[in-house]
């Protein structure tokens, strides 16, 4: 078994005392983390913790109200060219008037690639996610899982250094979800890409991650950064049956549950 985190890879993304507030309401406070090249990090936290907000700050879609995010050492202002995002809402993140192929190829057009190369790259990306043969289909002719594959292919064809995924498998059925998780692991292995994935599913976070960033508290802070020592090869049945998997799972769960439990205790004593 290989240990991926003994020698920390060179940091690609620095999160530096990051904070975010909607007016008076503070959502994120003093977040610090470093994400290395080639790492797969899941950001997990209870719903309403500001996971999506954090992801938008990280991908340059929303400016942080305090602190900074640095990509390759430079503070980001706006989406970096080397980053691609996969959104949760696949049915709205794809263009229904474009075929799967054209959906994948459009960002490449804006990037200034010629028609032949765009097609070539888009076809390769669609094949990578197992959609060879569905290139000419419209998104609405595809199942939810396949639509999300198109969205992943679009991100891959863009050839980013980092793929950022916002609850990408939250709205598909369990079997499809497992397939897409394994697809993510395989693609990441194959293309040696850095992946940042937001999820509220603790099992998913532990199953996929090299490290899990656990968010908790109000306002949200980084409760812990947990290294997942399960090696790079994961398997839906064997990995999840591993006692260490169960241990990590409980560890994350306790961190997430604690603030709520404290709130409940406080509410009870107040009565």
């Amino acid at each position: 078994m290989t240990d991926t985190n003994k020698a920390a890879p060179e940091p690609l993304l620095h999160i530096d005392n990051l904070g975010f507030s909607y007016g008076e309401k503070e959502i994120l406070r003093g977040l610090d983390a470093q994400i290395g090249t080639g790492e797969l990090v899941c950001i997990v936290g209870p719903s309403g913790a500001g996971k999506t907000t954090l992801l938008q700050c990280l991908s340059g879609l929303r400016p942080a109200t305090s602190g900074a995010v640095r990509f390759r050492g430079r503070p980001i202002a706006g989406p970096p060219a080397e980053m691609a995002v996969v959104f949760q809402d696949y049915s709205h993140s794809l263009m229904p008037w474009l075929s799967a192929l054209d959906n994948v190829a459009l960002p490449l057009k804006s990037a200034g690639l010629g028609k032949k190369e765009r097609q070539q790259r888009a076809l390769e990306a669609l094949e990578e996610v197992g959609l060879a043969g569905s290139e000419q289909k419209y998104p609405w002719q595809l199942s939810g899982g396949m639509q999300q594959r198109v969205a992943i292919a679009r991100a891959l064809a863009y050839r980013p250094a980092v793929i950022v995924m916002d609850e990408p498998f939250a709205s598909v059925d369990a079997q499809t979800r497992a397939d897409l998780e394994d697809l993510t692991l395989r693609v990441r292995q194959h293309l040696d890409i850095t992946v940042l994935l937001v999820t509220h599913d603790i099992d998913e976070a532990v199953y996929l991650s090299d490290r899990v960033m656990v968010l908790a508290g109000k306002p949200t802070t980084v409760a812990d950064m947990i290294t997942v020592d399960l090696g790079r090869e994961r398997d839906q049945i064997e990995t999840k049956a591993d006692p260490r998997f169960a241990g990590l799972r409980s560890q994350v769960y306790r961190l997430i549950r604690r603030p709520d439990a404290a709130d409940a205790a406080l509410a009870a004593s107040g009565r």
Partner: protein
């Protein structure tokens, strides 16, 4: 109606369903108006014969129909271009659109015919006046529908455009325009009908040439039958124009119709 397998039979049945009422009405009028002796309501048969004589044999097509068609097309195309461009800009700038709304609302509330004297004053009775007025008046429904259509773009798609750094021109051609297309077409269909009405009115007041001019001129010279032939040609002209427009719309919005059919099929 039972769905038929044979596409030709289906098209034939559709056409028959489409045509039975007009055919019945025409046949009925032909028969009933046979005995008319009123100077103002000549028998349909006479009108039909004269239509052939004036419009087909006598070169009325080239003299009056073609100029109408060209000027309508020029005005309508200008309206589409201006309406879509302005609509997209205003759709993307909600604050500006709000500030301009009293202006746009009053402009579109002014009946088109009321602008005729002003247009005559500035542009005279020639071609420029006619085309400008057709374009200006029929532009509003296109512009307003484009604003709505552009706003209907989902916020997620906005983030997609941001994160993949789509160029402004690609955003316009591949996101906003297709997203707004169903509404743009709905507006354009209304605009086309308005355009025909404005075309007739400006021709009645403008320089010779055109359907409107022909109808008014015939009426002024007591050529009642000729006047009625003008109405007949105008009716058929409007019908064919609308049919052509629908065929074009169907072609462009193919994806949309297929998607709607698909999602309705899936949900029922």
């Amino acid at each position: 109606m039972k769905p038929t397998r044979n596409p030709w039979a289906r098209t034939g049945a559709g056409l028959a369903w489409h045509l039975w009422l007009p055919v019945l009405l025409v046949a009925g009028s032909l028969l009933l108006s046979q005995q008319f002796s009123s100077h103002y309501f000549p028998p349909l048969r006479t009108i039909a014969e004269q239509t052939w004589v004036i419009w087909f044999d006598g070169g009325g097509m080239a003299e009056n129909l073609l100029p109408s068609l060209l000027r309508l097309l020029a005005g309508f195309c200008a309206a589409v271009v201006a309406g879509v461009l302005l609509g997209t800009l205003l759709g993307l700038m909600p604050r500006t659109e709000e500030a301009l709304r009293p202006l746009t609302d009053s402009f579109r509330a002014i009946p088109g015919a009321a602008l005729l004297p002003i247009a005559l004053m500035f542009f005279g009775t020639g071609e420029a006046m006619k085309i400008v007025l057709i374009a200006f008046i029929s532009m509003w429904p296109i512009m307003l529908n484009t604003i709505d259509g552009v706003r209907s773009v989902n916020p997620t798609l906005g983030q997609v455009m941001e994160s993949f750094k789509l160029r402004p021109l690609d955003r316009f051609w591949h996101i906003y325009l297709p997203a707004a297309a169903p509404q743009v077409f709905a507006g354009a269909r209304t605009a086309l009908a308005i355009g025909v009405a404005v075309m007739v009115v400006v021709e009645m007041f403008g320089t010779p040439g055109g359907l409107g001019y022909f109808i008014r001129h015939a009426q002024e010279n007591f050529q009642v039958v000729a006047m009625w032939t003008g109405m007949l040609v105008l009716g058929v002209f409007g019908y064919l124009l609308n049919a052509l427009f629908r065929a074009f719309e169907k072609r462009i919005l193919n994806w949309h119709h297929a998607m709607v059919a698909h999602t309705q099929g899936a949900s029922s």
